[in-house]
Amino acid sequence: MTLSGDACFLLRPGVMALLRPLLLDVVPTIQQTAALALGRLANYNDDLAEAVVKGDILPQLVCSLSEQNRFYKKAAAFVLRAVGKHSPQLAQAIVQCGGLETLVICLEDFDPGVKEAAAWALGYIARHNSELSQAVVDAGAVPLLVLCIQEPEIALKRIAASTLSDISKHSPELAQTVVDAGAIAHLAQMILNPDAKLKRQVLSALSQIAKHSVDLAELVVEAEIFPVVLTCLKDSDEYVKKNGATLIREIAKHTPELSQLIVNAGGVAAVIDCIGSCRGTVRLPGIMMLGYVAAHSENLSMAVIISKGIPPLCTCLMEENEDHIKAAAAWALGQVGRHTPEHARAVAVANVLPTLLSMYMDTHSSEDLQVKTKKALKNILQKCTYLPALEPLLHDAPPNILKHIVGQFSKVLPHDSKARRLFVTTGGLKKVQEIKAEPGSLLQEYINTINNCYPEEIVRYYSPGYSEILLERVENYHPVL
């Protein structure tokens, strides 16, 4: 039963037809070994798994599961898992031949290995779509899985938690079923367990439950996970950090009150530290969480700013290679800066607007990144009154962004004389004169407002082609002798 790369060669002589009668052999060892062989074959390749299904082996396995010893049960559950993991159709085939009921019976077995194999198989079946999950739930698996979570064996806990996570991820009703079985309390207790893989699965399960609706998120929060969850953000395992950040994100995104709760518990600081210490896709849930918190209200956005949230977001924007992480960072910055001029100033001071603009203009950026950076720029620029940060953007921006920048200048310059002076000395006025705008458009109005702030000579001085006009005057001048 060695697993070789050319296992498909075994298909040709009809290995399924050979293995099938061995399943009914008198000797139990042969049955177990045959089942194990089938499992390994199905595990390797989905064509082989389909061959297992087509060879009518599943009904036999399912029937004989109930009366055999624990080794056979483990092997048979392994076969079901290997078949069910490849595609929804194969999993549906398992459901149709009544595999779910036998797996649920295996969940009640005494041996923890059998329970683990059965839970694993159920998890792979429920993973594909919500109908299969519903079928698993209807077979009565959820209360038994909650019991499995309370068992002392770590591996069993891991698998049971991952199965609950797979069941509850599809729809709110399934998540509600899992919650009604009392899973949240046990999952919340297991956050303190030192095993890293278990923590991954537990955090993933809680986040799948909390993501569907406000009530479910509130139920998860009532299980007193804060501030314990924040310690998970300091774990040495990357995926524990990622799943912890995902859980906090799913809770924060629903209502401002939940975000407020997280902020009051110091969650924002922990997530910011977590972002600073990770690299790559592990950062993504943390970035999105900051965006959601800042999006709800300006006080929460100010809380994010005070917790020193902007520098990590800027570094994410600049350092990361993946476009979707950059897009998320740009979106988060836009949410932070869009509320009031104070917020926009805080974002602009971090010198991130030129980066956003360059990403928007870059042809290599994906569509999503361009759209998000454009929205973020628009949102921030509409409230930004910090002129030193707006200056560099005048030179590079495309017309649709330029409109907003010039608009902001036209709002600030009439009232601030120092700013007017600075505007002239830094060459902004010159640049504004060079902009070609359609008469009657908004841009032209803004330009007129700016020009009205200055005496006419200066405006004429900076208008393009003025030096030629002067030289022409020199040419046409007849000196009075």
Partner: protein, 346 residues
């Protein structure tokens, strides 16, 4: 009669005259009648007109007064409403001023309380500092624990290695590998070797495999084998033969001798020699009872029996051998008991 005749002669002329006169009067009558009517109607018209004129003037006075009255009433109403509106505007203005002040105050104090917001944000930053500190401490603690575990594991490894390499310990004569004479002080490994106990060659306990290794096919599986398998392809022989599997099982049953059979004849001598060899091997000193010089000095002097007792002759061995306890003798009581016995039998 003449008059009558004259009258009768005048009659038709009278008649005609009558007719003529009535007719003439008739003609004039209409005219006069029309004229009279005209005059009367004119006069009546004048009278009526005068009357109407009179009425008109009177009515005008009445209407004049009445309309003045109505107009004044109306004006009064208008003035009242205008006054009312003016008052209401004024009140509205004042109310707006009050509400303006109040709403500004309320919003600034309760809804968008700047100072409360500032305090809240400061509190958040303080809380964040605390949380960050605690999380850092937690992370450090975990790091320390991990380091400690690693260190302990390394120590254990080293100890195990030292126990295995115990033979490398240096002796008086031969300096070991880790105790070179050119070094100022022995290597730490040397010290470890000195501390450790030699490892006896016993089987290491089999590591317990985790359950999840099982289905990942990471190790070779062993199922419990109960029976040996019969040969393949053998058709069942015809006749009253026993089951092939059973026969083969019986034929190839492993030997299970009894202890007596399994033990060899000279096992006893061998065992004794074995014990002797072990004792010879294990004892460190050959001369077991070599005295140490100071040993005798510490020894207390035990006098012999002769010296420790009285200087008499011992009565034991000469006068008597055993202790004598006359009270326990039952010889004289036997007679009584035999008497009782006999009497009881009867």
């Amino acid at each position: 009669m003449a008059t009558l005749a004259r009258l009768r002669a005048r009659l038709p002329a009278l008649r005609e005259e009558c007719f003529r006169r009535n007719g003439a009067v008739d003609e004039y009558r209409k005219k006069e009648y029309k004229a009279a009517v005209k005059i009367q109607s004119w006069f009546r018209g004048c009278r009526v007109r005068a009357y109407i004129r009179y009425l008109n003037s009177v009515i005008i006075i009445i209407q004049k007064w009445w309309r003045g009255y109505q107009g004044r009433r109306y004006f009064r109403k208008m003035v009242e409403t205008a006054y009312f509106i003016m008052k209401m505007n004024f009140y509205n203005e004042m109310a707006v001023r009050i509400q303006k002040r109040w709403r500004g105050y309320y919003v600034r104090k309760y809804t968008h309380n700047y100072y409360a917001l500032k305090k809240y944000l400061e509190a958040i930053s303080v809380n964040n500092e605390i949380v960050r500190k605690e999380l850092n401490e937690y992370a450090e603690m975990r790091e320390k624990e991990k380091k400690k575990k690693d260190l302990e594991k390394k120590e254990k490894e080293k100890d195990h290695q030292a126990r295995k390499m115990h033979y490398l310990l240096s002796t008086e004569q031969i300096a070991g590998v880790y105790n070179s004479p050119f070094r100022k002080s022995p290597d730490p490994m040397e010290l470890l070797l000195r501390k450790s106990k030699p490892l006896s060659h016993r089987q290491q306990p089999a590591k317990n495999h985790l359950i999840c290794d099982w289905s990942n096919c990471t190790r070779s599986l062993t199922f419990p084998t109960a029976q040996p398998l019969p040969p393949i392809g053998r058709q069942k022989p015809q006749g009253p033969f026993r089951d092939t599997a059973e026969v083969l099982q019986q034929r190839y049953k492993p030997l299970e001798p009894t202890l007596r059979v399994a033990a060899s004849i000279n096992s006893l001598e061998k065992a004794r020699e074995e014990i002797k060899r072990e004792e010879w091997r294990n004892c460190v000193h050959d001369n077991e009872f070599l005295p140490f010089s100071s040993y005798h000095k510490k020894e207390k002097y035990d006098p012999s029996i002769h010296r420790s007792g009285r200087y008499d002759q011992e009565t034991y061995g000469i006068k008597h051998f055993r202790e004598v306890q006359p009270k326990k003798w039952i010889a004289d009581k036997l007679l009584e008991w035999s008497g009782m016995w006999n009497t009881s039998q009867i």
